[in-house]
Amino acid sequence: MTDQKTVITLLCERAADVDGICDKAGNCTTVDGLKVVKLPCSGMVQPLMIEGAFKAGASGVIVTGCQIGDCYYREGNRMIRERLLGERTPGLKKTVERRRVLALWLSRLQRGKFEAEAKEFVAYIKGLEPLAAAPAAAPKPAPAAKPAAPAVAPSEDKKEDAKAAIESKPTAETTPADADKAAEAKVDAATTSGDKPAEEKKAEESKAEEKKD
């Protein structure tokens, strides 16, 4: 499963119009391995959904909303934008590889740009080493079964997350092209050091889960 490169797009139904290039089930017909899930607004995207996609075996996620400033629901795209940047709670877990997430803010008429960017991103993801830490069989946390968690612990945790993200912002300038080279270097590193990073990741993840419960 890990060799299969799926990129999930979480798409606002008012943003770039992909109806012409997608089948009903959500498979993009012109970009190989691109799947589309439509939402009423990009503001509905939960960081948990992105994490869930990786857990289920996706190797990349694209979040697509309308042009910043033009959200039909006023602020949805700003909200998810800030969440992705770690400026607003809840944000993405530390364990999520940031370079595997891309956000596009495109108006309804910009299907061409969406396609081009998505193609580039899929190709970029294909060049990355497989996500070892995410076997498709990994049990997804069943939302319904999870008991309510005390508010304090996770939210504090998240605030720290956000802080860290803000501090790390200056380094955000890396474009996929730059990152590409970095990734190549990383592949080498990964092959030599075995799957240690993956283990680390798992440990961290389970810690996070513990904290929540």
């Binding site: 042009q67 910043i68 934008r81 992705l84 940047l85 770690g86 993405l92 530390k94 940031r98 370079r99 997430v101 891309l102 956000a103 596009l104 803010w105 495109l106 910009q110 740009k113 960017e117 860290a164 993200a165 501090e167 790390s168 912002k169 380094t171 955000a172 890396t174 474009t175 996929p176 990152a179």
Partner: protein
């Protein structure tokens, strides 16, 4: 960009000249106190050529009051335009249609 800043500066310097009612022959006392009469004269040299055009336009429009004040209005408008273009040129650099996420430390 350079043109926008140039427009802003050119129009800003035009404002005091317009405020003198486009006439630098009798500079007010402040100029003497500050010893900047040459500046006043220089303004007259730079902008003086257009004074007649402004006057004919404003008179044909039956503008009331001092004509220089309307020219001042035009100058401040142009200065703001130059500033706006320059600001927007700088500011739109961080506009984004495509956003990559900062790496976590």
């Amino acid at each position: 960009m350079a043109a926008a800043i140039g427009l802003c500066l050119w129009a800003s310097a035009m404002m005091p000249w317009a405020e003198l009612d486009m006439n630098v022959d009798n500079l007010p006392h402040t100029f003497k106190l500050l010893h900047i009469e040459p500046v006043g004269k220089a303004l007259g040299e730079i902008y003086g050529g257009s004074a007649d055009k402004h006057k004919t336009h404003l008179e044909s429009q039956k503008a009331e009051g001092k004509k220089g004040e309307y020219v001042y209005s035009l100058a401040i408008g142009l200065a703001l335009l130059g500033a706006a273009i320059a600001i927007a040129a700088i500011g739109s650099a961080d506009d984004e249609e495509k956003m990559t996420l900062p790496e976590k430390k």
